[in-house]
């Protein structure tokens, strides 16, 4: 695309900085025999905040002869401008059309972005279905957490990488090169890809259905494995990190240096998909982290660094790392953020230290309102933990606290729902019972309540999601109970989006047709309330002879075949069943750091958490 065309398009959109590229640390390799378009099915400010994409950008551009460029979902104003001008979707680095790339790869972070994949393919003039694309089109691949159930999007992609991409993506790229050099057919190329551990080639499998729904998935060739096993990066400490992190011009959602402290979590919360699909825990050494922190701050100029992981408070050497990082960063006037601290790992000293750099809101996630409910989900946090953490925070001068909860959890009763308001009341009383000179002025207590979405490869993968009417009833119950909580503010959301998310997270291949129809009806940016079209989605389901309810609200039997059963995430099904049964009995499971719970079974017993 030339400058004049781009100028015309940019003059018509609200945020032109989304489409210009040219950010500091952007890479444009002059010589490349393989061009990879790294796509994110949401807007720039969200996609640029994704750590996994940043890692892959660095890894792929680090390969000899490979040029990796970025492409994000254009906002609706740019989509319209492109269509009216008859222009194709382009990458930020060289403004080349998506269709001109050898490989086009999508990150799958959230099911409600699936419709945007189709928008991007349409604007890229690339046929939606794998079977309609010959080698004249780019190879279409995907990866990311949602890939652990690839079925709803399976017909669109030629290959899906399941698990860590740092090693699998380069192997995939090299297999593509070898196949191309040998002048192979697409079928032969796909066979090469299917031989890479962790790579799923959907067209080599066929799903069967009967009157009850999904029945089985059958392998069509012995070139593909019976089960695709998730790829696990063994050594995070030696793994590539983000290198020279890109520095966006416009403000993005996570606008800071992202330092990945560890991957995986040992807590075993039963609702949490990330907690299962990133096992085992792998940590970076303190030395590596300090060096990376300095390097990243130096090459970006950011004034904030975030120590990322699923539960940074659990990092083995936190007590040595944190004071050292804070000390070094303070000298450079860089503030340190700890985004996922658990209530029970919080320390007053650290709060005081953070306070000295910048005062932001504090967020805690008790997830449920009663101890029984927290035991069911294995959130091993007590009311005392929360109150002590809040008390520490208030004494350190914090006045803004945000509490995250879920409603609609398995076995939930009205008492559990009302328990959320009870807990909020106790936090509020705690604040106002403190002497005025010991605390800040007014409390801002935000209680954010989301709807539980059962996810595949968790202990709750068989569970029914509450129906929207029931969720609305529980929300009303909570609205009433939250009245009179001084300083309290309740946030909740209409629930149909969670219903769709539940359907797609545990969906089968028939949902690909639903997606195509929803796309045809104009569905895109579904997670943005101004674009969400619930009626169009309902119609799309019914035109396919399906209902959202059978996917979202049906309790599955533990013996039932599951559409994602051919994906082996390393945590065994037997372990998940045991966890499910313990949940139903409100029994907790200990943190893996206190001793192995045996989630990998015999086959992967060599995957050690703390090697």
């Amino acid at each position: 695309m030339n400058d004049q065309v781009l100028d015309r398009l940019l003059s018509r959109v609200e945020k032109p900085a989304r489409y210009i590229g040219g950010e500091y640390n952007m890479q444009v390799k002059a010589e490349a025999d393989l061009r990879f378009a790294l796509c994110f099915p949401d807007v720039y400010e969200i996609g640029m905040s994704h750590l996994g994409s940043r890692i892959l950008y660095h890894v792929l551009n680090g390969m000899e002869g490979v040029r990796c460029e970025r492409c994000f979902a254009p906002w609706t104003d740019m989509e319209q401008a492109l269509k009216e001008a008859g222009e194709e979707l382009f990458t930020l680095e060289t403004r080349a059309p998506l269709k001109s790339f050898d490989i086009v790869g999508f990150s799958l972070l959230y099911e409600m972005c699936y419709s945007n994949i189709l928008t991007m393919l349409e604007l890229g003039h690339i046929p939606f279905l794998s079977r309609d694309r010959g080698l004249e089109y780019p190879l279409l691949v995907a990866g990311g957490p949602c890939a652990v159930n690839p079925e709803p999007i399976a017909p669109f992609f030629d290959a899906v990488v399941i698990g860590d991409g740092e090693e699998a993506e380069p192997e995939l790229v090299n297999a593509y090169r070898a196949s191309r050099a040998a002048g192979e057919t697409k079928r032969q190329l796909l066979e090469r890809l299917a031989a890479i551990p962790g790579v799923y080639v959907p067209s080599f499998y066929e799903a069967e259905y009967d009157e009850h729904g999904f029945k089985a998935i059958r392998r069509l060739t012995d070139k593909a494995p019976e089960k695709v096993t998730r790829r696990v990066l063994e050594n995070l400490d030696k793994a590539p990190f983000v290198g020279r992190q890109l520095v966006p011009h416009m403000q993005i959602v996570h606008d800071r240096v992202a330092l990945e402290v560890m991957r995986g979590c040992t807590r075993g919360c039963r609702f949490c998909q990330a907690g299962y699909i990133y096992r085992p825990v792998r940590e970076r050494s303190e030395r590596t982290l300090l060096a990376q922190a300095e390097e990243l701050v130096r090459c970006t100029g950011y004034d904030e660094i975030s120590l990322l992981s699923l539960s940074t408070g659990d990092y083995s050497h936190l007590h040595e790392l944190l004071p050292e990082v804070m000390d070094r960063m303070e000298k450079k006037r860089v503030s340190v953020a700890l985004p996922s601290l658990r209530i029970d790992s919080l320390l007053k000293d650290e709060l005081d230290k953070m306070q000295s750099v910048r005062k932001a809101g504090l967020t805690f996630a008790p997830e449920a309102g009663t101890q029984r409910m927290r035991d069911v989900i294995n959130k091993n946090v007590t009311e005392e933990d929360l109150l002590r953490a809040c008390s520490d925070a208030f004494e350190s001068g914090w006045t803004g606290v945000k509490l995250y909860f879920m409603i609609g959890l398995p076995t939930e009763t009205d008492e559990d729902v009302l328990g959320i308001a009870e807990l909020a009341k106790k936090v509020s009383r705690l604040f106002y019972s403190m002497p005025k000179e010991k605390r800040g002025k007014g409390l801002r207590l935000t209680v954010s309540v989301s709807t539980f979405v059962p996810k595949p490869h968790t202990a709750f993968e068989w569970c029914a999601q509450d129906e929207p009417e029931e969720i609305r009833r529980k929300q009303r119950l909570l609205v009433g109970a939250m009245k009179g909580v001084r300083g309290g503010e309740l946030h909740y959301h209409p629930s149909f989006l969670s219903v769709l998310e539940a359907a797609f997270s545990r969906g089968d291949r028939r949902l690909a047709e639903v997606l195509l129809r929803a796309h045809g009806k104009g569905c895109r940016f579904d997670s943005w309330s101004e674009h969400f079209k619930p009626v169009a989605w309902q119609e799309a389901f019914s035109e396919c002879g399906l209902t959202v309810a059978e996917y979202a609200h049906r309790q599955r039997a533990l013996t039932e075949p599951l559409p994602w059963g051919h994906v082996d995430v390393v945590v065994t099904e037997a372990y998940l069943k045991k966890e499910y049964e313990k949940a139903m009995a409100a029994q907790t499971t200990k943190d893996c750091r206190q001793g192995c719970n045996g989630c990998f079974g015999r086959a992967y017993a060599d995957h050690r958490c703390f090697a």
């Binding site: 015309r8 940019l10 032109p16 500091y24 416009m250 090459c299 100029g301 005062k359």
Partner: protein, 232 residues
């Protein structure tokens, strides 16, 4: 110490908003390891200030800015170190040490010169555009509709803010203008309003692109000014 310098924003960098520019310059200063001075208070920020805001979509040859630094640095080094770490389309020039008691750039901003490339919907000859410009410059009043903060449209006379305008190129499909107008902290000549008045007068409509060529200040020795001893 205090350094005053100019930043150019060319090509794609034109599409950054004023806030984006501030962020980008601050981060570049940090990458260059400049000993920035921070404000006191709750949320300390580096003392870096642009003379004015540039509309999103406009290029600029010189956006003047002012930085406070701890210790001493040779202006030429400041320039070189910063230019190594600025993103494409941006570079600093004209760096100079400024006395602490010199007024603020914003407070003394007076005028700016622009190049406008206008692409009307139908073609005009150089003579047609030239005579239209002459007529506009001869009139006492150039009324436009201005949208207020509340969204209401009110009439505004932009003639007092228009100092000079001349045609510099015309190839039929488009023409270029050299325009000098008022620019102060409180406002100034709105170039898009001026282009609309001109196109209206020609009986056409169209699109345009703009580049700020220079900013002028009143009473800041060493900086470009419109007064005697004109800046070159």
């Amino acid at each position: 110490m205090r350094i005053i310098a100019a930043l150019h924003e060319r090509g794609r960098a034109a599409y950054l908003s004023h806030l984006d520019m501030q962020r980008t310059l601050q981060r570049a200063l940090r990458r260059a390891d400049m000993p920035l001075v921070y404000s006191q208070g709750f949320n300390p920020h580096p003392l870096v200030a642009f003379a004015g805001a540039l509309s999103t979509g406009y290029e600029s040859e010189r956006e003047w800015f002012d930085v406070r630094l701890e210790g001493e640095i040779i202006p030429a080094d400041f320039e070189a170190r910063l230019n190594e770490v600025l993103p494409e389309g941006m570079a600093v020039s004209h760096a100079m040490e400024a006395p602490e008691d010199l007024g603020t750039l914003t407070g003394h901003l007076a005028a700016a010169r622009y190049t406008l490339w206008v692409r009307p919907e139908r073609a005009f000859s150089a003579a047609e555009v030239g005579s239209a410009l002459d007529k506009l410059l001869q009139s006492e009043e150039l009324m436009v509709q201005k949208r207020t903060k509340s969204g209401a449209m009110v009439p505004q006379n932009i003639r007092p803010q228009l100092y000079e305008a001349r045609l510099t190129a015309c190839d039929g499909a488009s023409f270029a203008l050299d325009v000098l107008g008022e620019l102060t902290a409180g406002g100034g000549l709105r170039t898009e309003a001026f282009v609309n008045v001109l196109l209206d007068f020609l009986g056409s409509a169209g699109s345009f692109q703009c580049r700020r060529e220079e900013m002028y200040f009143d009473g800041l020795p060493g900086l470009p000014s419109l007064g005697k001893g004109k800046y070159e």
